[in-house]
Amino acid sequence: MTIPATTSLPVTLAEAMEFAWYEADLLDHAIYDEWLAQWTADALYIVPIEPGTTDFENSLNYAYDDHGMRKKRVERLLNGQSISASPVALTVRSLSRFRLLQTDEASCELRCAQIITEYRRGRERTYTGDVTYRLVRGSTGLQIARKVVWLINSTEALGGIGYIL
């Protein structure tokens, strides 16, 4: 990563985009140690159900992961014990339509579109949604303070999702 750790300039769209693509690449290529290291200590990874939810903590979500749960999710993908993750689904995610909703020297709020195609056991499936990132500047560069994945069909019946959106 070449993103400067400290600067007196606001986070730019280019920096934030580069970071989001980097995260997507880590997930699609199963580079999970590095992925786990990209989050702040109190960061949350959330996949809500109801559109427009703001109180994630008191709502039922598909995923509401702190660091411990993210680690467990990764272990599940790697340890071969989960029949729905052996073989693990192959994924390719495409991120586009980036927009900075807010930015300052220390952090930014990024929104983008995400389309994931999953392939597993002869079946191809697609999950489409918006992703909102809260990114903060850490000592080593940008880090994720919060990532929320808003699936467009979140209130419908989904298939099993044995990977990280």
């Binding site: 996949v47 159900i49 109801e50 903590e57 008191n58 709502s59 039922l60 979500n61 598909y62 995923a63 509401y64 749960m69 467990k72 272990e75 599940r76 340890n79 014990q81 989960s82 029949i83 729905s84 993750a85 209130t155 419908e156 019946a157 989904l158 298939g159 099993g160 999702i161 044995g162 959106l165």
Partner: protein, 423 residues
């Protein structure tokens, strides 16, 4: 209408006491017959009272494949109407849930009151009294009855009351509702997912403890030691009991049958923080213990034939879609008016195991998918349901009980299936 006898030379070729044949999962004619003979002829779960708490609240549901609206009218009475306008058949409602004062059809504007009566017909002078008798054109309403918060509907006016249909299952439903921890039980949202397989594959699973240690190994690896021991289902002295009419109960954690018992037992490590939080909010020691015990859920699953289970800490609803497609809803429940911290804990536990991204459900969905795939071969072969059959103990009223890993609950369900399908 296809009868079971027409599908096969004799019903015994298709279904026996301890085994069934593969076409039960794969034959579209059998599926069609089930929608009529079973789902149109029994009590089908449609809602929990807390999903429509206030007058005017409604939700969409299905009875078999038929779309219905569950609605509480202005006087608080619950109705289940076929979601179909009497004019030309359009659905009146395509909103999953909400609040309304009437049901107005979007096509030509016929309006119905919440109790189903036709109230308004635009440009009524196109009809005379003979061609349009409003009293004849109420919505088609199903018979509705409720037991301990569970709302069921049926197309049949002449079958037994719900309470009789549930029979011995009522005692277990009462025990299950104790996880309100002193508050009424309330739904907290749901996880919905679909799998490409027959609905009876999921029906069997709710009373299948045998699969748990294997299919849910990755979940068991992710939980703490205490929870892992508690979930060592096959070694905890549990049992399965046939409750009549196709219902059954599977007790996996016997010490969690009655949540009002053992309140003096030490608080599990994983709930220590929650107990502290509740105590700090001013709840008494007894209240804290009661709530914490309730948060962990009940130690059993009640399988209610044909479409709902009260499953440890949530409602599990199955919705047949086609012979090889089924939708499942895992409805989270908590304490209505109870402390937010306790409900949060229940929500987090639900997210951990259930739903499309849970650590449990996707593995269940995967094996069900495999059952359906495997069933594409060997039409003439049997699905075995004989586990625990020889050692089954008979109860005085003719019901059966066996060890927790026995397929007694599935045999009970298929008994009822056969009774209803051979008519």
């Amino acid at each position: 209408m296809t009868s079971l006898a027409e599908l096969s030379t004799t019903p015994d070729d298709l279904i026996r006491k301890d085994r069934v044949r593969t076409p039960l999962y794969t034959d579209p004619a059998i599926f069609d017959a089930e929608m009529t003979k079973i789902f149109r002829n029994t009590w089908v779960w449609v809602a929990h009272v807390s999903e429509i708490p206030n007058n005017g609240d409604f939700k969409m549901a299905q009875v078999g494949l038929e779309p219905v609206i569950v609605v509480r009218d202005r006087k608080g009475k619950v109705h289940v109407h076929l979601n179909r306008c009497r004019h030309r058949g359009a659905t009146l409602c395509e909103v999953r849930k909400g609040k309304t004062s009437s049901l107005v059809c979007p096509y030509h504007g016929w309006g119905y009151s919440l109790d189903g009566k036709l109230r308004g017909v635009p440009y009524e002078n196109g009809y005379d009294e003979k061609t349009l008798d409003r009293n004849e054109l109420s919505l088609k309403s199903l018979r509705v009855e409720e037991y301990n918060g569970l709302i069921f509907a049926t197309f049949r006016d002449d079958i037994e009351p719900l309470a009789d249909f549930l029979g011995p299952a009522k005692k277990w439903i009462d025990l299950f509702m104790k996880q309100g921890g002193g508050y009424p039980v309330k739904t907290l949202g749901e996880h919905k997912f679909r799998f490409p397989g027959n609905w009876k594959i999921q029906l069997e699973n709710t009373t299948d403890a045998y699969h748990f240690p294997l299919v849910h190994k990755s979940f068991l690896t992710a939980v703490d030691k205490e929870t892992e021991q508690q979930l060592d289902m096959l070694n905890n002295g549990g049992f399965v009991e046939d409750l009549g009419n196709g219902h059954s109960v599977m007790v996996m954690i016997p010490e969690l049958i009655d949540l009002d018992d053992n309140l003096e037992a030490p608080i599990p490590e994983k709930f220590a923080d929650l107990a502290k939080e509740l105590a700090a909010e001013g709840y008494s020691d007894l209240e804290v213990r009661r709530m914490v015990r309730a948060v962990g859920g009940s130690g059993f699953n009640i399988n209610l034939f044909p479409n709902v289970a009260c499953s440890m800490a949530f409602f599990r609803v199955l919705q047949p879609v086609s012979v090889n497609e089924t939708e499942i809803r895992h409805i989270a429940i908590g304490m209505d008016g109870g402390p937010a911290a306790a409900n949060r804990a229940r929500i987090r536990l639900h997210e951990f195991f259930q739903g499309p991204m849970g650590f449990g459900s996707p593995d269940d969905a995967e094996v069900w998918d495999r059952v359906q795939h495997g069933a594409q071969g060997g039409d003439e072969m049997w699905i075995m349901l004989n586990r625990g059959f020889p050692k089954e103990e008979s109860l005085p009223d003719g019901r059966h009980r066996s060890d927790v890993s026995a397929e007694t609950g599935m045999r009970a369900a298929y008994d009822q299936w056969k009774r209803m399908m051979t008519v």
